[in-house]
């Protein structure tokens, strides 16, 4: 089980990378949605006051 050196070779196989990066993009999109909601709130508050 012990792959040696710094990272397990099993985890850094080339065919896994598209999936990893896709996951990373998903995370960024999720955070962007949170930001967009906050921006919407700010616009609303700007209109109200």
């Amino acid at each position: 089980m012990r792959g040696g050196r710094s990272l397990d070779r099993g985890l850094t196989r080339r065919e896994l990378w598209p999936q990893y990066l896709g996951g990373l993009v998903t995370e960024v999109v999720y955070i962007a949605v949170l930001g967009a909601i906050a921006f919407g709130v700010a616009v609303l508050a700007g209109v109200v006051f």
Binding site: D8, G23, L24, I31, A38, V41, A42, G46, F49
Partner: protein, 501 residues
């Protein structure tokens, strides 16, 4: 009943604590090399002294504590909590030797704040410190976020079976992969990929903002480390206000929110389970509380007329609240501006955000989304029971990687830790008030320390009472390790004196 520990117990604990301190010594090689590269010879000597101390302590302890026994459950917890203390005591050496700290206690405050990814600091004249020391500040916060133990697991433990308990003792209890060492490696993989992308994005932004290439790269790396570890250290005393840039702020927000995700969530999303990000109890809980608090703070600040237009409101409110909720502690306003500009409602919203914190098994602190989610579900379940016919069977589920049925045991343990956090917050508030600070300031700062956030409203300063500094150090340690291993260490200490043979 407490059993008095035997000689073998001390040996096991000593051996593994020694290993972790050796790990800290190796970590200091990075700032040492940085100082050599920039010709900061006085700082080089500081790091040589500190590395020698780590090695002397670590190898000395190992030589004395020779044993083949593996770690038992309570050993692991004691190793986790005690190694954080020793690592703080020795890790404070470079800070203290730099001449920028008022006392050794101040230096320990900064280092504990770094390891626990809090971000409060007492360093004076930060704007004139060496690159090597700045590297150490940010590296130790990055290391603390990853988990000092996770680092030791990856490089030093060589797959000891009992290592899992040390890992749990550090407040991380998810197995991403069946094997704990592989789990540690998966955590590294996620963090290093984010490091490459996040630091590069910040460095490019810095270049575009007019920084020279060397400073842009260093600042990019350091701000990334501060954000990903939800630590909140930054290379300049102006924190991230220094950059005056929407782009820089947005990248920092993305990194700090990503850093506040549970590593199990990262791993699920990265291995193809994309839907997990909107189904997970912690992301749902985080999205709800963040949005509610942003709503409150935005309307309060808009009504008070502090910020003029929507863009300004968004940039200030979302940044400080995202920073507070992820327990990062970056800010684009002055500390005292929380009091002089944001006022009670803004401070209250930020305090609640810090108190809740982000995800379990991440770099973040606070009560954590999973507990808030579980308790909220349990609350709803009870209400549904009251309004349903007597014999109706009401079950409640939450989703974390898989669907989990709510059991009383689960709710109970979530409640226990939540109550422990609330008590710690209350204790820190009380201490602040007793030392003569305003109630709102004392709550804000006390919660900030105990939830490992690091936003400040001005209470923390080099001339604050020594007693309060010590209490904040204790709160940061307790909050980061989520009580259990600290209590076990306390039990170990008591059993030394009073335990049964």
């Amino acid at each position: 009943m407490l059993l008095r520990p035997r000689r073998e117990d001390h040996l096991v604990i000593g051996k593994y604590t020694g290993k972790i301190v050796i790990g800290i010594g190796f970590l200091m090689v990075v700032p040492l090399l940085t100082s050599i590269a920039f010709g900061e010879w006085d700082t080089v000597v500081d790091f040589v002294i500190s590395i020698s101390l780590c090695m002397a302590f670590g190898y000395g302890t190992q030589a004395v504590c020779r044993t083949d026994r593996d770690l038992g459950w309570s050993h692991g917890l004691v190793v986790a909590s005690s190694s954080w203390l020793v690592a703080t005591a020795i890790g404070a050496m470079p800070h203290w030797l730099s001449g920028h700290m008022g006392s050794y206690l101040d230096a320990m405050f900064d280092v504990m704040s770094g390891y626990t990814t809090t971000g409060l600091y007492l360093m004076q004249d930060l704007d004139h410190i060496a690159h090597g020391l700045n590297m150490w500040r940010h590296l130790l916060t990055f290391a603390g976020g990853q988990g000092i133990v996770v680092i030791a697991l990856t490089f030093l433990f060589k797959g000891a079976a009992g290592a899992y308990t040390v890992y749990v003792g550090e407040g991380k209890d998810e197995r991403l992969l069946p094997n704990v060492v592989q789990t540690a490696r998966a955590i590294w993989l996620v963090s290093l990929v984010w490091l490459a992308i996040g630091a590069a994005a910040l460095a490019i932004a810095g270049l575009a903002l007019g920084q020279d290439p060397v400073r842009a790269v260093l600042h990019g790396l350091w701000v990334y480390m501060g954000a990903w570890s939800t630590g909140g250290f930054a290379p300049q005393s102006y924190n991230t206000l220094y950059y005056h840039s929407l782009a820089y702020e947005l990248i920092a927000i993305v990194v700090m929110i990503a850093g506040s995700f549970n590593f199990a969530l990262h791993w699920a999303v990265w291995t193809g389970n994309r839907r997990e990000i909107r189904r997970n109890v912690e992301t749902v809980s985080f999205a709800i509380t963040l949005t509610l608090l942003v709503l409150i703070a935005t309307f309060a600040l808009a009504k008070a007329g502090v910020y003029s237009d929507a863009m300004v409101l968004f940039r200030k409110v979302f940044y400080q609240l995202a920073s507070g909720h992820t327990t990062t502690g970056f800010s684009t306003i002055y500390s005292r501006a929380f009091v002089t500009q944001w006022g009670p409602i803004g401070m209250l919203a930020t305090t609640i955000a810090m108190a809740i914190g982000a995800s379990a098994c991440s770099t973040a602190g606070g009560i954590k989304g999973i507990r808030v989610g579980v308790i909220a579900k349990a609350f709803l379940q009870d209400i549904r029971k009251w309004v349903s016919p007597e014999h109706a069977l009401i079950t409640e589920r939450y989703h974390h990687i898989r669907d989990i049925t709510l059991s009383d045991g689960l709710v109970r343990s979530a409640m226990t830790i939540t109550i422990a956090y609330v008590l710690l917050y209350a204790l820190m508030t009380l201490a602040g008030v007793l030392y003569g600070y305003d109630f709102a300031d004392a709550v804000f700062e006390g919660v900030s320390a105990a939830s490992n956030t690091g936003l400040s409203c001005g209470v923390t300063s080099p001339s604050m009472p020594e007693g309060l500094k010590a209490l904040y150090i204790f709160a940061m340690w307790l909050g980061r390790l989520e009580f259990m291993s600290v209590f076990v260490l306390g039990g170990y200490a008591v059993s030394l004196v009073r335990g049964r043979r």
